[in-house]
């Protein structure tokens, strides 16, 4: 069952080299402090699954040489332009890319959540994604007549990692309306969460919180990390640090600049 760890490093200890790690999109609560800690630890060969897209988190991990395989629908810095380290790694063939489309990833997590081997999805037929993704299969709808449909295999990550506003002392985590975090936790073997703060009463007993709460039953470890999504936003708590992302985009444009970024913001632990 979930426990509140004494340190961030202790919470993320189960994330080892070669781990299949599931993380959410930029606006749902990205565990950036934990991501920087993984980079400091020098983690290698991650199979990162970003549900369904990523921004700074994937770019930072790629640039720092932590990624072996990336499975997602898109990586960019949003309005700050292309993700420079992602782009360079693809052009150099430095990472293995498994291109997806957003609802396919959602469906694959939902299959794992339900304990079924696959999920069907409309669309996709005629897309080159289907040519690249040999693990996605077209079958004839058994309930239809000459109705091809795509089946997507269940995706069961080793670890799901995200940042949320609150957890209580029993490890129940308030995720609000970011419901795909619940699906991620259901699908993953283990779930590790960082939170802004600890809530003193049990979230499951509070009618205002319970519907937006991931039960501690699904959670392995919780670490308290103020501004743990910084410089990315946390819903209803804080917005994106636009100046910082702009600085990242500028520095990460070159390997030398990216190394400076790491020295300045990752290896030197930022005072909260």
């Amino acid at each position: 069952m979930a426990r509140i760890t004494r340190s961030l490093e202790e919470a993320i200890a189960p994330i080892g080299d070669g781990c299949m790690l599931a993380v959410p999109r930029e606006t749902s609560g990205v565990a950036m402090a934990a991501t920087r800690a993984l980079v400091r630890r020098g983690i290698k060969r991650l199979h990162l699954v970003a549900l369904p897209t990523s921004t700074l988190q994937a770019d930072l991990l790629i640039g720092a040489g932590c990624i072996g395989t990336l499975e997602t629908s898109a990586v960019s810095l949003g309005e700050f332009g292309p993700a420079p380290r992602f782009t360079a790694a693809i052009l150099d063939g430095a990472i293995r890319m498994r291109d997806a489309t957003c609802p396919a990833l959602h469906a694959q997590f939902q299959a794992a959540e339900k304990g079924v081997p696959f999920m069907p999805l409309r669309g996709l037929i005629g897309s080159d994604l289907l040519t690249q993704r040999t693990d996605w299969k077209v079958v004839d709808n058994p309930f239809g007549d000459n109705d091809p449909i795509v089946l997507l295999p269940a995706l069961k990550p080793d670890v799901a990692l995200f940042h949320a506003p609150l957890a209580d002392r029993d490890g129940n985590v308030y995720i609000g309306k970011e419901r795909e975090l619940v699906t991620m936790a259901h699908a993953a073997q283990r779930t590790i969460v960082t939170v802004e703060e600890v809530h003193d009463t049990n979230l499951l007993r509070d009618p205002l919180f319970v519907a937006g709460t991931l039960p501690g039953f699904y959670v392995e470890a919780v670490a308290v990390e103020r501004c743990g999504a910084w410089p990315l936003p946390l819903p209803d708590r804080y917005g994106i640090d636009a100046a910082h992302i702009a600085e990242y985009a500028r520095l990460a444009a070159t390997p030398e600049g990216f190394a400076q970024y790491l020295d300045r913001y990752v290896y030197e632990k930022r005072a909260a």
Binding site: A100, T101, A104, G123, G126, L129, I149
Partner: protein, 258 residues
């Protein structure tokens, strides 16, 4: 819609007005991230039309979704998204869009962010409007290098949705789904048919006389600048300032204060 005195307007205002008229009647318009001009058009459609559609600006607080990141796709699969916008690093004459790479997939020359939800939404949303400001032979190509999502599908593929039009900085095309071909509808003020042919990498149909894209009316401009701009500023403060000169309360400032 006609104003007595033609008013000065910006390119962004013309494009938003064209898109707004394409949207027509709708119950729910969804707009992807980082799409300020389609967002302007969708809000304009809501404020000017009779149908008062729901407008979901993805990646912002301006959605009604409570079921996480998947709800948009489930909603579209249920037939509850009428209009969506897509773009492409490359778009070809059959309406195929490429959001992945130029060159060979294994050894690309250029890499784009990725397909996002296109390989699904292009099939299930009835009215997909393609929007690509840069109209050049680099973006509008004979054949895309990677099909993120095809413009059309064989008859046995379940596909209620697809492209209805393509808007660029130079012109408006509509799309004939049966023939999988674009047709030039109108040329924006200051541009010409010859110029469109020169800068388009694919063949397209055109009428003998190609009309000029009508300028936004004074009423439309008033609505855009007075009513839409403040709403837009909550999601796209920089765009609202640059295009409409609107400087208001920024969402980020509010968040920081709370």
């Amino acid at each position: 819609m006609k104003s007595a005195q033609p008013e000065e307007f910006r390119d962004e205002e013309l494009l938003a007005d064209v898109i707004c008229r394409l949207i027509g009647d709708a119950r729910h318009i969804a707009v992807g991230n980082a799409s300020p001009i389609p967002a302007t058009a969708a809000l304009l459609a809501r404020e000017s039309g009779a149908s008062k559609p729901y407008v979901s600006l993805l990646g912002s607080a301006h959605t009604f979704f409570t079921d996480g990141a998947r709800e948009l796709f489930d909603c579209a699969g249920q037939g509850r998204v009428d209009v969506f916008f897509l773009s492409g690093g490359q778009i070809d004459g059959e309406g195929n869009i490429n959001l992945v790479n130029i060159g060979d997939y294994e050894k690309p020359k250029v890499r784009f962010p990725g397909s996002f939800g296109s390989a699904y939404l292009y099939y299930v949303v009835p009215r997909v409007i393609l929007f690509r400001v840069e109209h050049s032979r680099r973006t509008l190509v004979p054949k895309v290098d990677f099909i993120s999502a095809p413009g059309g599908s064989p008859g046995n593929v379940d596909r209620p949705g697809g492209p209805i039009a393509l808007i660029t900085n130079r012109c408006l095309f509509d799309f004939d789904r049966a023939r999988r071909r674009f047709r030039l509808v109108s040329v924006h003020p200051g541009h010409s048919v010859e110029e469109i042919i020169e800068h388009t990498g694919f063949a397209f149909d055109k009428p003998a006389q190609v009309p000029l894209t009508p300028a936004p009316s004074a009423d439309t401009l008033r609505l855009m600048r007075g009513v839409v701009a403040p709403m837009l500023a909550e999601v796209y403060p920089e765009f609202a300032r640059r295009v409409f000169g609107y400087v208001g309360t920024r969402r980020g400032d509010r968040d920081a204060a709370s």
